[in-house]
């Protein structure tokens, strides 16, 4: 790694120039916190396309050679999940911090091994969890922190998304779409689990009941349906991912001893139900909710035109990560949180062993 002076932008390299890179690169190309120095992909054409689009970074096809030549301060690993382990190891060994897309690994054991390696090399390893930085989630976290919900007792997260229509289900392509234990479900599950963990304060799952299945018969997807009830201490929750329910939604509800709040990450709104608008005052609460929904509808229209979409937490997450790295302060995503998520995912994915 080059010796970055405090206050200097971090020299950033990207490995993997596919779809998710187009969520990282706009921030990397624009922020004063980073200087985009390298773009690496097995496909030179994809790396060239990213270079043309964002106007920075040398082009590479071999990650090891790129790391040796460019010596970046930080590497974004944005390749398919089964390649993460090797690339993260290469980047850490080259002395770079790493931001890795989720799922970082297929199992908690592999995740723990990478976090150990990062600690040994004195570098930071961060698994992406951009949804924690979305407006609605920040608002809910704020409400929980202020005690408006009381003690959190439940968290239900439902993702209805027909991902089989995209590359995950495209039978023209060979091989499994996602080469980790739960297949296509594994690509989305970390989002649900880290949201559940952060919003409920849970650090482990005590029991899981439900099913992890391939319902469509699509061989490329692996598992494409998940519906589980989760027990974590005093908290209960439901996590569900389905491809065959319309309309598409990413609905989340957090219930506490005083109030419940609900949102949808695809078409965000916030609906609070709780004191003082309960009992005879409940209709007032419904009126208030109705007005809030109408406002949210207008805001969502505005946001769609302004391209403030579901991924809008990504630049905030990257900004927080880079600020912490440059300032030597605590990272917004810690190794303990990453490992907690991975272990919870393991518990849920184990249902697939019985399928």
């Amino acid at each position: 790694m080059s010796a970055a002076r405090p206050g200097d932008p971090l020299r950033a390299a990207v490995i993997g120039c596919g779809a998710i890179a187009y969520e990282h690169l706009p921030w990397l190309a624009a922020t004063p916190q980073a200087r985009l120095v390298a773009l690496c992909d097995q496909s030179p054409a994809l790396a060239q396309a990213a270079r043309d689009h964002f106007g920075a970074g040398s082009i590479h096809v071999d990650a090891a050679a790129m790391l040796a030549e460019v010596k970046p301060d930080i590497v974004h690993v944005l390749t398919p999940p089964h390649t993460h382990d090797q690339l993260v190891r290469l980047a850490l060994a080259a002395g770079a911090h790493v931001v890795c897309e989720k799922p970082m690994c297929g199992t908690a054991a592999e995740t723990a091994a990478l976090l150990d390696l990062a600690r040994e090399t004195g570098r930071s390893l961060i698994e992406s969890r951009n949804l924690l930085f979305n407006d609605a989630i920040l608002a809910i976290r704020g409400a929980i922190a202020e005690g408006r919900l009381g003690d959190v007792r439940s968290c239900d997260i439902v993702l209805h998304l027909d991902f089989l229509q995209g590359p995950f289900g495209d039978l023209n392509l060979d091989g499994p779409a996602v080469r980790v234990p739960a297949g296509a479900i594994h690509d989305f599950l970390p989002h649900l689990v880290y949201l559940f963990a952060e919003l409920t304060g849970s650090t482990q799952i005590d029991a899981v009941h439900g099913s992890l299945e391939n319902r469509s018969g699509n061989r490329r997807a692996g598992f494409d349906f998940l519906d589980v009830l989760v027990a974590a201490g005093a908290v209960r929750g439901r996590l569900r991912i389905a491809t065959d329910v319309q309309p598409e939604r990413f609905r989340l509800s957090v219930g506490g001893s005083r109030a419940t709040v609900e949102t949808d990450l695809y078409n965000p709104y916030l609906r609070f139900e709780g004191a003082p608008d309960v009992g005879k005052r409940a209709p007032l609460g419904q009126l208030r909710s109705g007005l809030a929904m109408a406002r949210a509808g207008l805001t969502n229209l505005w946001d769609k035109v302004g391209q403030h979409g579901t991924m809008h937490g990504m630049p905030r997450m990257l900004d927080a990560v880079y600020s912490a790295l440059r300032g030597g302060t605590a990272l917004p995503i810690t190794p303990d949180q990453i490992l907690t998520t991975a272990r919870m995912v393991d518990r849920i994915v184990a249902l697939g062993d019985r399928a």
Binding site: G18, A19, Y22, S43, P44, A45, L46, Q48, A49, D52, H53, G166, P167, D170, L171, N172, L173, D174, W302, K304, V305, G306, Q307
Partner: protein, 342 residues
């Protein structure tokens, strides 16, 4: 000649396969594995090669002896990553797999690669018009087609491969009607933007004939031709023809090009004031894309006629009649896909 046709299952690819087989070529038609055609539906001399260019695969082992390739494969829709995969990565994989025996490359590009703001008002857009120099102001299709064409030209430049780049206009035919020239439908009415601007149409059969004729061009260097039919109806005229042919076109309402541009300017102003210039505008309101679709320009086809010895066989009237016949046949199909028996 043994000819590989990529994108053989697509709108243009299907016609190219028939035209190439009709011209006596041995056609290797590359189809995506999940949508293979019934071999009995193909003309004699056509061999099906299952494969998806987005991935290197076993298809690459079946290209020995290929003398020419007609590269139709591209993603015409989807977001930028989807089009990068279907157009750019697909072309990269194809180029890496082509055999040494290849003598001829016919690349199906697009008229969209040009800078439509370059010609003067009512001027000509031809093969000498500069390419779009600021692709990011255009859509993902233009960005990826520009990169695809550059890759093909770079590949052939260093090899003894004769390259013909064809840049078709708006290809129409059964299955693709360009909404009969309308920009938007509102109830019974069709809004027709820039009603007097030419539509640069080319019938899919004419386009396929030209592409197959390109196989016979002297195999040296690089030839670039735009493909547009002789008849270039205005949006209004094409809409009227379609309506008279019984196609489901509404009552036309013309919106002059200058009014369209004024709407675009207002949208840009709103984007700058309300969204720091980052608003996602539809084609109807986006100034650069408005120019591409509706700017009044002329589209000569003299170079294609001369270089390929091609002349469009299907007239506009015949082409529109074909659209109507296909529409009628479709309407007579029950949901099972079986024709209704009297």
């Amino acid at each position: 000649m043994k000819v590989l046709v990529t994108g053989a299952g697509g709108f243009l690819g299907r016609s190219v396969v028939r035209a190439a087989a009709g011209a006596g070529h041995h056609v290797v038609a590359m189809h995506r594995p999940a949508s293979l055609p019934d071999p009995a539906s193909l003309p004699a001399g056509v061999e099906i090669l299952p494969g998806d260019l987005r991935q290197p695969g076993r298809w690459a082992e079946h290209l020995s002896g290929i003398e020419a390739v007609i590269h139709c494969a591209a993603a015409a829709s989807g977001n930028l990553p989807t089009q990068l995969a279907g157009t750019v990565v697909a072309t990269e994989n194809l180029l890496a797999a082509l055999p040494e025996s290849l003598k001829r490359f016919v690349h199906v590009s697009s008229l969209s690669v040009y800078d439509f703001s370059a010609p003067r008002w009512h001027g000509c857009l031809d093969e000498d018009t500069p390419l779009e120099s600021r692709p990011l102001r255009r859509d993902a299709y233009t960005q990826t087609k520009l990169q695809q064409e550059a890759m093909v030209r770079a590949h052939c430049a260093g090899r003894p491969i004769g390259l013909v780049v064809v840049r078709p206009g708006a290809i129409y035919g059964p299955g693709k009607d360009w909404d009969f020239g309308r920009a938007m439908r509102i109830g019974r009415f069709d809004l027709i933007f820039a009603p007097l601007s030419p539509m640069r149409l080319t019938h899919v059969g004419n386009c396929a004939d030209a592409i197959v004729a390109a196989l016979a061009v002297a195999p040296a260097g690089e030839t670039i031709v735009n493909l547009i039919d002789d008849e270039q109806p205005s949006h209004w005229a094409y809409h009227r023809l379609a309506r008279r042919a019984g196609l489901p076109a509404g009552i036309g309402i013309g919106v002059p090009y200058l009014a369209v541009r004024a709407l675009g300017l207002l949208a840009r102003l709103a984007s700058r004031l309300g969204f720091a210039g980052k608003a996602r505008l539809p084609e109807l309101l986006d100034l650069p894309r408005q120019e591409v679709r509706w700017r009044p320009l002329r589209y000569p086809n003299a170079r294609a006629r001369q270089a390929l010895g091609w002349s469009p066989a299907v007239s506009l009237r015949e082409g529109v009649a074909g659209l109507a016949a296909a529409q009628q046949a479709q309407a007579e199909l029950p949901e099972s896909g079986e024709p209704i028996r009297a």
